[in-house]
């Protein structure tokens, strides 16, 4: 019996003939947008894997969604408000307990400009 993986690859081959959807440059750019550094090796690996995954995602193109509104979440809830009342909050030293770099009651940010 063919594995899930083999079947998927076969299907992908039939429909896409290995067309690349995403270049290494685009992966670099998107990683930059996401603030994640990648090594050269990873850039190559991710590009390959992303193309694999995006080729699979291509499947959704065939669905007719003309009459469908987007579902952002499944509940019929909008704008949940509460009374604007003061409640106790964490003391500063406790709120800062997990800060890796701090000084007095401040957290230290890296250089901004």
């Amino acid at each position: 019996m063919k594995s899930l993986r083999e079947l998927t690859l076969l299907k992908l081959k039939e429909t896409t003939m290995k067309r690349r959807r995403l270049s290494k440059k685009e992966v670099e750019h998107t990683a930059w947008l996401a603030h994640i550094e990648l090594s050269e090796k990873e850039k190559t690996l991710f590009t390959e894997q992303f193309n694999d995954i995006l080729n699979y995602f291509k499947k959704i193109d065939e669905v007719n969604t003309e009459d469908a509104q987007p579902t952002y979440h499944v509940l019929d809830l909008t704008n949940i408000y509460r009374e604007d009342e003061e409640t106790p909050s964490l003391p500063a030293e406790e709120a800062l307990k997990n800060v890796p770099k701090k000084e007095k009651k401040f957290l230290k940010a890296p250089r901004i400009v």
Binding site: R5, A31, E42, I60, A68, T71, N98, V99, P110
Partner: protein, 488 residues
């Protein structure tokens, strides 16, 4: 005599109430069990033995003074490491949060403490709940007690293993695309993904908000129902919490499926489903027929697109949720601040996150970026509507839907980890209920070559009662609950 650690929550609470056992004995028994098996399975990231024993003695004190006891009195509870526990390190099995100690308890933790449940430790998981095998944990993989060379499923793998090996009596999981049900299936325990909004997500470290729910895992259906009764209910601190009246879910557990209409979607037996899984799940369905239910094949065509839709939505939400990890307020931060903020963030996130987390954040960023938003994210949200509609229509004809939890039995550790798409494929039968917000349960339904197989029962929103009744009836009339993993 059965060892205390092997008992169910129901039995333990009875024993403590009737003074046949102390809470301290129960907790000691669980930790003794851990010392025997934990080295081999690696279910836990953090243990809190002293604190647990202290709590146990408090409960014994209550007993001796005749004070009222909570519904989970003396029960050992393991917590997936994505749920915040005040004063106990909560890592999400990530280097990013290796040293993170939450200053508050999640709502579900407050609730179990309020019922005298005892937190014993935090369980291993796929990093940030992203995976189906518990292999992406920064702390190393968890092993399946039915075959130590195989994965326990994921992402709540540590929780499922803790239950299967009697290292815990109840365990918290969280389910974004199957993360409770998959490991429940792979370890032959019971796991529930509740209706979206039934259980508060306050204190659950977010991965994909619109999909995930905290869910109970236990040795049998009764314990799962009991556990769910404790943790469900409205919470003003979670804006997506539904205002449903509290229920005692154990009241739904009747041993009968007489008159039940069960639908069997053919999409759940798609290409790639193992023959053994298919055979065993159908045997389970026939069993329910024998017990008085009527079963009929049906079809929800949109389910063919559920997996792609799910991953686009989940990755998109992940890219937004995980943007908070910059290494400033908490989380991993490199020692030397070389360069500007963007460079520092990028380095923190490169070192703090493992490969799968980075992959999902970057792909999610891509799916939300200018020019691709409509093509991927918006399109996926529209298909999500079609999937909901298909379920709504189908539930006009059926009380519950049944299929396999996982398309294949537990696979070998290392077998799929190099190939992300192959791993994603394993979620094909679980993700649709998250997209539609429906409740679902995985119950043991047999074995193939000694490896567990799970059956998934899906119900309409807030109809956990139907799902629990079918699961309970199935469990009462099959022998699988009594089989324990070959781990001495």
């Amino acid at each position: 005599m059965t060892k205390l650690h092997a008992l169910t929550a129901k039995e333990i609470v009875e024993k403590i109430r009737s003074k046949e056992a102390t809470a301290e004995d129960c907790i000691l028994s669980v930790f003794e069990r851990m010392r025997k098996v934990e080295d081999r399975v690696h279910a836990f990231v953090t243990l809190v033995e002293e604190e647990a024993l202290r709590r146990a003695r408090e409960i014994d004190d209550k007993v001796s003074k005749g004070k009222p006891l909570g519904r989970l009195a003396g029960v050992a509870i393991a917590v997936k490491d994505t749920i915040c526990t005040k004063g106990i390190r909560t890592t999400c099995s990530s280097r990013m949060l290796e040293n993170f100690v939450p200053p508050y308890d999640a709502t579900v933790i407050e609730r179990v403490k309020g019922e005298d449940g005892i937190i014993i430790g935090k369980t291993n998981m796929d990093e940030f709940a992203m995976g189906s095998s518990t292999e992406t944990s920064y702390f190393g993989p968890t092993h399946n007690p039915w075959d130590l060379s195989r994965v326990p499923g994921g992402s709540s793998g540590g929780s499922a293993v803790a239950i299967a090996t009697d290292e815990a009596t109840l365990a918290f999981g969280s389910d974004t695309g199957g993360s409770v049900r998959c490991p429940a299936s792979y370890c032959s325990v019971v796991g529930i993904k509740p209706t979206y909004g039934l259980v508060s997500r306050y204190g659950l470290i977010a991965y994909a908000n619109s999909l995930e729910q905290i869910g109970p895992m236990a040795k049998d259906v009764y314990d799962c129902a009991l556990f769910l009764s404790v943790i469900a209910g409205h919470d003003p601190r979670d804006s997506t919490s539904v205002k449903a009246a509290p229920k005692d879910c154990t009241e739904f557990l009747r041993n009968s499926v007489e008159g039940f209409k069960i639908g069997v979607p053919k999409e759940f037996f798609g290409e790639g489903t193992s023959g053994d899984v298919e055979k065993q799940v159908w045997m389970g369905i026939h069993k329910l027929e024998e017990l008085g239910a009527s079963c009929e094949e049906t079809s929800l065509p949109s389910l063919d697109y559920a997996l792609a839709t799910y991953y686009i939505v989940a990755m998109s939400e992940a890219s937004s949720n995980l943007a908070r990890y910059d290494g400033l307020r908490y989380g991993y931060r490199i020692d030397r601040d070389d360069g500007d903020w963007s460079t520092v963030y990028s380095k923190n996130r490169r070192i703090g996150f493992g490969a799968e987390v980075r992959r999902r954040i970057i792909l999610g960023t891509y799916a939300l970026s200018a020019g691709y938003y409509d093509k991927y994210y918006l399109k996926a949200l529209k298909i999500r509507t079609l999937i909901r509609r298909d379920f709504e229509d189908t539930f006009k004809k059926f009380n519950v839907l049944i299929g396999p939890t996982m398309p294949i039995p537990p696979f070998k550790i290392g077998e799929k980890i190099q190939d992300p798409l192959a791993l994603y494929m394993c979620d094909v039968d679980t993700v649709s209920t998250n997209l539609a917000g429906l409740p679902a349960i995985s119950v043991p339904c047999g074995f193939t070559d000694g490896l567990p197989i799970g059956m998934q029962i899906i119900a309409p929103p807030l109809r956990e009662d139907l799902m629990l009744q079918v699961a309970y009836t199935f469990e009462q009339n099959t022998p699988y609950k009594n089989r324990k993993p070959p781990l001495k």
